[in-house]
């Protein structure tokens, strides 16, 4: 009798334990239902999101096609205005880009290495002058790129010829004009020699009253003006004297 009671109690206990363990492992029907509902809602939300993304994609593709057409039309109009073909324009931009890359490489070289590239630098300088006269250089952005390259090449050439240079600062900060630059102790220490800088930088300076910040100016050697520099200076003084008074 006692054995029977113990056996039955053990059976009930084992069953109860098994039930508890099973309940821990398996979800209840309510939990299943909750997860089904959540997952169904997620599927619906994600499907809606997919549909929205698909429609966005269609709109973006249409916008892309329109932009391609607009860019092409704008470029065609610009090239027509300049009188160049698309092929010429693309070749110009490619050449300019290649030159920019090359000059960047040359800038990373030491002065000693650069000496071996003097001919190349001079060729680049000549080519840049030609490019500056190209029809595409009428686009200010292109003209600026050429000018920046010309300055870089001039600076590189100056660094290997050991020619003295001066980088123009701003009027507000440095009071830089040809007169004041020539007056500097480490330049000529003589303001009257300003025409030397003008004549030595005719490629940049068209009007000696106008110099721009960041220009790298060559400082030619010498302690007095040459005949040409004197003539240029006299021409300038005469022109200034002939100008009408500004009413000050």
């Amino acid at each position: 009798m006692k054995t029977l009671i113990v056996s039955l109690s053990a059976l009930v206990l084992v069953l109860a334990l098994a039930q508890t363990l099973q309940a821990q492992e398996k979800m209840t029907k309510d939990e299943w239902q909750a997860q089904m509902t959540a997952a169904t809602k997620q599927v619906a939300d994600l499907t809606a999101q997919m549909a929205k993304l698909d429609s966005d994609r269609v709109a973006l593709m249409a916008q892309s096609t329109k932009l391609d057409a607009d860019v092409r039309a704008c470029e065609d109009a610009l090239y027509a205005l300049l009188g160049v073909t698309r092929e010429e324009a693309e070749a110009f931009e490619k050449e300019l880009g290649d030159l920019e890359k090359r000059v960047d490489e040359l800038q990373k070289m030491s002065d000693q290495e650069l000496v071996g590239h003097r001919d190349e630098l001079e060729r680049i300088q000549t080519r840049l002058k030609e490019l500056a006269n190209h029809k595409m250089a009428k686009i200010p952005r292109m003209a600026d790129r050429i000018r920046v390259l010309e300055d870089k090449v001039a600076a590189l050439l100056a660094s290997i010829t050991k020619e003295k240079t001066y980088t123009v600062g701003t009027w507000a900060r440095d009071r830089d004009c040809l007169w004041n630059i020539a007056k500097k102790k480490d330049i000529y220490n003589n303001a009257w020699l300003w025409p030397k800088i003008w004549q030595g930088n005719r490629d940049k300076i068209r009007d000696p009253d106008v110099i721009k910040p960041k220009w790298v100016l060559k400082i030619p050697e010498g302690k007095e003006l040459s005949r040409e520099e004197k003539t240029a200076a006299n021409r300038y003084y005469r022109k200034k004297a002939a100008e009408p008074a500004t009413g000050q």
Partner: protein, 87 residues
């Protein structure tokens, strides 16, 4: 004693039936399969949404670049016209 034995066996049977009945509160295998399939579908959709979001972001970036190119071209055109004296 015989009566007690009967009561005890009845009680154990009742408890066993109750416990077995309690087990049937869990979802069936078929129901569990449905849930697993649905969860797999969610995962698949999430992956697809992420891919489409990336693709659309790339397209948006490309369009922004094209738009910048267009504006630059228009600005170049204006500058050239101005330089040519408004022809």
């Amino acid at each position: 004693m015989q009566a007690f034995r009967k009561v005890l066996i009845t009680a154990v049977c009742a408890a066993t039936i109750a416990l077995i009945a309690g087990c049937s509160n869990s979802p069936s295998d078929e129901e569990m399969r449905k849930l697993t399939d649905l969860q797999a579908q969610v995962k698949q959709l999430e992956d697809q949404v992420a891919t489409k979001q990336r693709e659309n972001a790339t397209l948006e970036k490309q369009n922004a670049e094209k738009n910048g190119k267009l504006q630059q071209c228009q600005s170049d055109q204006d500058a050239v016209k101005k330089a040519m004296g408004g022809q």
